[in-house]
Amino acid sequence: MNDTDTTTERGLIKRATGIHHLDAVTHGGLPAAGATLVVGEPGCGKTIIGLQILASALARGEGGVFMSFEEAPEQILRNFDSFRWGRQLRESSRCEILDGQAIKGGAFSGGFDIEGLLAVLDHCAKRVEGAWIVLDGIDQLLRRQPDSQSAIDQIVQLNDWSIEQGYSLLLTGKHTGKDRFQPDHLGGIEFMLNTILVLSNTLVDKRLNRRFRIAKYRGTSHNPNELAMLIDATGIQLPYAEPFAAEAVPAAGERISIGIERLDSILEGGVYRGSITLISGQPGTSKTTLGAAFVAAAAGRGERALLLSFDEFARQIVRNVATLGIDLQSPIDSGHLKVVARASWDGLVEEHYMAVLALLDDFQPDCLVIDPASALLKSSGADSAFLALERLIAVTRTRGITTMITSLSEADDPFGESSLSHASTLADTWIVLRYQINGGERNRSLSVVKSRGTAHSNQVREMILSSEGVDLADVYPFGSEVLMGTARAQKESEEVDLRQRQVKERFRQQQQLELEIDKTRASIQQGQAELERLQEELLAEHRDQTATDRGADHHQDSILRRRNPGQGGQDQ
């Protein structure tokens, strides 16, 4: 037995199939020793699973054996050349493809054994040193048994032999009825095998929907749900196979611009990195423009942004938003932005989901816009488009991709539309765009319905688009409404007039005050001059007084000297 790529769970050794999604839902692969039955209607992918597992083994440097009871080896190789791994089957020396279809032309007389088959398989597996053996269309051989019990016994024999020899044996068989675990002619086989995979096809809106289910995987945990299945050039895809790792979701505290300065202000600096923003609105309310502004801002920061459009073609978007001053061409040219258009009607929901995942894997964007995500509702699919959207949001959250999804609202009811009922609960920030019809005109409005972790304004604001870009107008409440459009412009004009009048009045008051000041200053100057004159007059008076006083004293002294000559006093 080849021990490569095996895991052990509760004693059961599993061998990885190399089909990523199949290994995910089987929690590690199929039994490393034992048979797995793959049953389904014609054309539902049974042979592909077998050959893809074989090709994966070859790619890992292992060998494998494939025997078809329905098609010739060359026909098989030709059919599978279109798969990316098809060449591996043709070119590998460790790939043994056996032609078992000769049985179809044989006649039968009584029962037969399969020991010869087992001897051949063992011989070939040892020759290529392979652990995988695929018997494609085993029912085509065993239905030739004269009684079904012999056929079932030989399925059990195959299972026992593969366990004993340590081979991973894949048996495929057709059934033609719904919800059947066993191939036609092999009723009861489901009780004999531990591992059964059921493939089915369903037409939904005339489109083929493939389904996959692990009907039985005894002794091990696995995903038991019926899952959507796709077949593309890579082979089998199970879009919803990956479990969601909630603990892996980061919670960044960094805020990043949404591309509109005033909206960033309302959101206290923008949205959280890695968060989900929902923009909902009726047709023509500029959802795409907001998305374009968002990716342009991201590219402007040097980040990688992906704009996925289900409404418009890439060049049209670039052209249209350029008229609003949003340049997408430059970041496209620099490799920071990728704009991808998909037609929602041109694929299943699961196909769109896988295509978006492939874009995320390939481009590794920091920011993502899906415009409008509600277009997925137009896609066919047995699974809900909401499920795809929720899974997609879970993926972007886990990867820390800041995501904006837009959603088309029903007319006049942006809050009640069905497309929002799920997505709005998943979004961290929900912005509603509307038309406000007042005074015979239609104006765009924006309001933030919710923004987790943000004390945002609940004010409805007019959104203005111009060649300068997108902006939010000042708010002019009028009763219970907010003035918009011409009414706002008129109000703004009145405000300007009022401000101008106020400026003029203030200017006049200032001039009046300055005049008063000048007059007062003149009065002060005049008073100061009078003061100085009076002070000088007083000073002169004081000087006259002093002179007079001195003259009087001198005269008195003369008189006294004349009255007392002995004392030397004598008038001259």
């Binding site: 056996l98 032309g105 009584g110 037969f112 001897a119």
Partner: protein, 105 residues
Amino acid sequence: MNSAPADDAHPHDAVLILFVTGEAPRSRRAHQNLTTALAASGIGDAAPREIDLLGDPQEAINFGIFATPALMLVDASGRRTVLYGDLSDEHSLKTFLSPLREPRR
């Protein structure tokens, strides 16, 4: 019944090959039933060649025989026809062997 050119080992005469797997009961029964049928048909000298696939699985690949027992008839032109099973259905076995009773041309 399928028809395919025989390999170069049996280009001329009609040849019977019985593919068996050891001593498996069905293989033993097929051997017995074939012997009986050949004798009953008066062509007991046909002497079928017997190949045990357990001992030589590559022969199974060469002849495209994966269910045993299997009786292969390679006619003079090299075309092959195969009858699978333990040959317990006398009628189908008799029909299968009927070309051996036809005069050689």
